[in-house]
């Protein structure tokens, strides 16, 4: 199932294209304010090992429609904190093998400090609130990974993400 609400947030079973996302995000900032001088990007990749176990592949499951809303909420949060920024978030679903990207985040701003901040903020928030689940398949078993309590209303969690981003 492919779910794209607009060009800057998406949940997709297809391999992620960072270049494509960068073009879109940069275009949003180029003509506003001071223009776009900095693009910070993040890719989360499938690692070969997890806690010492050898990873064969992962499966990501998402509540697609809600994940898109979570990504849009993160865009809005970032837009309030960093007014002249643009942010793209794409998460992949389905089976991924080692080295493939599960998430791509792109932040564009006039200057580099803010680009790094927006990008870091976004990945922290994705990990906090995006309704996406990772199922790991090892040589010797499998396990669902359970991380953060998905609570998009939790302002303390949001504040923590902001502290990490702006440290």
């Amino acid at each position: 199932m492919l779910a794209i609400l607009n060009a800057m947030v998406a949940v997709t079973p297809a391999p992620l294209s960072l270049e494509h996302l960068i073009v879109q995000v940069e275009a949003c900032v180029r003509t506003g304010g001071e223009g776009c001088g900095a693009v910070a990007s993040f890719l989360g990749l499938v690692r070969a090992t997890h806690q010492g176990r050898s990873v064969r592949y992962l499966e990501y499951e998402a509540f697609d429609a809600l994940a898109l809303k979570a990504f849009q909420q993160i865009q809005q949060e970032a837009g309030q904190q960093w007014p002249n920024s643009a942010l793209g978030i794409v998460h992949r679903t389905g089976r991924l093998t080692v080295g493939e990207a599960s998430v791509a985040i792109v932040a564009a701003t006039a200057h580099r400090a803010e680009a790094f901040q927006v990008c870091r903020y976004a990945i922290e928030r994705v990990k906090q609130i995006a309704p996406v689940w990772k199922h790991e398949f090892f040589d010797d078993g499998e396990a669902w990974v359970e991380g953060a309590l998905t609570d998009p209303f939790d302002e303390a969690a949001r504040a923590r993400a902001l502290v990490i981003a702006c440290a």
Binding site: L66, S102, G147, T150
Partner: protein
Amino acid sequence: MRITVRLFARLRELAGTETLAVDLLEPATVADAWRATVAVAPALAPFDRAISCAVNANFSRMSHPVAAGDDVAFLPPVSGG
């Protein structure tokens, strides 16, 4: 009234289904829907304090009222990124 419950990831696996039709007495909240879900799928009980929820694909709170025909999703702790 009847609502639809959607389960994800380990909740889905433990319940053995990704959707459940659940009957509730009115008025009801998301928390009532969860209790009814656990009654049908007791394996979900350990998630009592670890679930989040959405109503009709909008993030919601457990105290939110539900109406007939609503789509109520329960979300175990997330691990995207």
